[in-house]
Amino acid sequence: MTIRRQYSLPNCTLVLEGLSTKHSTQAERPLLDVLIRFECHLTGALKPLTGGRDLLENLAAAASQFAQEFLSGVQHSNRDSLNGRSPLVRLEPVETRACRLIVQPELLIQAPVAESSAAPSTAQPALPIETTLSTVQVFDLVEAFDQFFADTQTLPDLSLNFKPLSRRVSTSRQPVTERAAPAALGVASLVLASVAFFFIPIPEVEKPRTPTPEDSPPQRERDQPPGPQGAPEPRQSSAGAAAAASGIANPDQEVLKQKLYTQIDQAWKADPTFDQDLIYRVSVDQSGKIAGYQFQNQAAVDYGSEVPLLDLLGVPPDSSTQKPLAQFQVVFTPSRVLQVRPWIDGRVSFGS
């Protein structure tokens, strides 16, 4: 004997017909656990939607999903494609207060020819059925299903499951254009900024200038009397090594150069056995004595014993009594020619 269950609301009536596989005499309402036929009568629709369990499940899921979307305003699934094809039952909002129900024909049973309902069944259900529902009608549809789900004596294996949409899913549901907007904005700002900066001239980097005897005499002469004590004192060699900078003013430098040349020339007795120039950077103190020297090439190291620089080296100045130092490049050539040139800031000045 078939069991018939009906869930009625003003705008929607669900009718379920089925069988009970469990025989229980004491229960007043027998358990309906096998569904044979399902009908959904909607007011405004020409004929009821008739089908089986597939229709019931799809329609219930679509109605429930629509209700959640309506409440939260967050779209639950991509209506346009579900595994590449459109879902069998769709409820989509058409205006602010209404929605359209679309049911694909494969879910619907058309009454067989043998059965009663005559006229509408002759047409083949080639097209999906579309009905427009108002908010109240959708609610009645949802509520009819909710009452069915709450009924434990009808298809108890079906139940409602509410699960809030996760943050990740909801963001991926946003249209690509919406999600791409921040990135596009970022790229656009970068482009704008680069165009703007393109027109701004690149600032020229100027090396901080240290006062040197070569280029600062006017300032020095203005600021302080030219004298051995007044010049700023840079520093300073370790034992035997040449000092860093020079502080002796230009006129003195020429004198010192002469003194240096003379004392080296007089002391240089040995004939050169080297075949390339020996280059030294030599520091002299105020009196013209050699305060230190540095090798500037490998030959200068190898043949250092042939030149008299070590013999001429005075006592390294101690830090308390620092005297201004002048620096010179001293070159011994294989042809026994001695060259002495002022050394300024790492380069040799040929000017003076």
Binding site: Q68, R97, E143, F162, L165, S166
Partner: protein, 201 residues
């Protein structure tokens, strides 16, 4: 209404059907707090004695532990960040559940009114008439607009659109539709779940 008489329970009986969503951080998200308050605001616009009814509902639902008195209710509702006097306090899940239960309880009582107003709105729309042509609807919309403007901080950029009457009417009608879904058999679970759509981990 027959309810669990045990009051020493940590979770009131009526809230047991609402699961704890996996929210990030402490308390309810921004949208949840805003939405609950708006639903309650729509109820107040429908029911002249709405705020008193909420306290009565709290008693009838055995929720005094969470909603003790008028001040507590005010503080819970003012956890809505869009309020003019928004309280910088979190809304715990239990408190949110209590407010949802109260809202659905009152919505169910107002089922007839809600349905009538929605049907009237539908009718006016098919006739292309403004909502002012229906007394009840016009009354609801006026009350909602005045409640909204007196309580919300309209200087917030997110609320700037609601300086126009039409936008507020749209919001009021949307909330009325949501209230209808709250009246259903599973209305409370539906509302509760929808409040966390897109907010859970």
């Amino acid at each position: 209404m027959q309810l669990n008489s045990r009051t020493d329970q940590s979770v009131p009986f009526v809230l047991e059907s609402l699961p704890d969503p996996a929210v990030l951080g402490e308390g309810c998200p921004h949208r949840t707090r805003l939405q609950i308050d708006l639903v309650l605001l729509a109820i107040e616009a429908l029911d002249l004695d709405g705020s008193e009814a909420m306290l009565t509902a709290a008693r009838e639902l055995q929720l005094q532990g969470l909603v003790k008195n008028r001040v507590t209710l005010w503080r819970l509702r003012n956890s809505n960040p869009c309020r003019r006097y928004s309280q910088r306090r979190p809304l715990t899940l239990a408190e949110a559940k209590a407010l949802v239960a109260i809202a659905c309880y009152l919505a169910r009582r107002l089922t007839v009114t809600i349905r009538q107003l929605l049907l009237a709105h539908e009718q006016l729309r098919t006739q292309q008439l403004s909502p002012e042509h229906h007394f009840g609807l016009a009354h609801y919309l006026t009350r909602f607009r005045s409640h909204f403007r007196s309580r919300m901080n309209l200087r917030r950029t997110s609320l700037a659109v609601y300086s126009v009457d039409e936008k507020l009417n749209e919001l009021a009608m949307s909330l009325l539709g949501q209230l209808l879904f709250c009246t259903g058999t599973a209305g409370m679970q539906r509302l509760w779940s929808s409040l966390f759509d897109g907010e859970v981990a």
